[in-house]
Amino acid sequence: MNTLILKTTSRFLFTLLLLLSVFLLLRGHNEPGGGFIGALVAVGAYALFALAHGLSAARKLLPLPPLRLVGWGLLVALVSALVAFFLDKPLMTGVWFSLFGVKIGTPVIFDIGVYLTVFGALLSAIFGLEETADRTPEEAS
């Protein structure tokens, strides 16, 4: 949708949505939120941006192809699940440690994996559909 109003507003909203998404991800262990919800909001942010500014502009805001993110997200989740191996505990046993004064646990890392995977997968879908849609409206109108 090529409108000035949307284009301008979406710049703000994009940032806001991304911010909200990171928040929902990070505090999900204690308050409503979590990796999945966070990822959905982030996808919304990109969807909005793609809608207002076109797909190529939205793609520029992402360092790597979204589908690759799926692989990395799953890898993060897998690694977080495998940490317990070194402590001789069963798969996915939670391991908590402090890093620079921040308490981090494998479940939180796992949630980040969730975030990346869901984000990558859904974004890949949205981008894919936007790409095919780029041509269609002109033909259809």
Binding site: L16, L20, E31, G33, G44, P137
Partner: protein, 88 residues
């Protein structure tokens, strides 16, 4: 029933109006307006329920909804723009 619970009930009573528009149309944008109204009421309900339950966690629902729900309107608007208001 406390006042706030009554308010919650009152709030739900706005929904039939939205439903009417949603079903009645007559055009697709009209239905979207109905949905928009439902979203607004939902935000209000989330906020109100944060009062009723005494749990501020429900405010997060309101926040997420406030920032996200209009995306649906945008998506539908794009459809309407190119494909007409009759739905197909």
């Amino acid at each position: 029933m406390s006042f706030l619970e009554g308010a919650l009930l009152a709030l739900t009573l706005t929904l039939p109006f939205a439903l009417y528009r949603l079903v009645k149309g007559p055009t697709l944008p009209d239905r979207v307006v109905g949905l928009d109204l439902i979203t607004s009421v939902a935000v209000a309900m989330a906020a109100l329920y944060a009062l009723v339950s005494g749990q501020t966690a429900f405010l997060d629902v309101a926040i997420a909804l406030a920032l996200f729900a209009f995306l649906a309107t945008l998506g539908l608007a794009r459809y309407i723009e190119y494909r007409g208001h009759k739905g197909d």
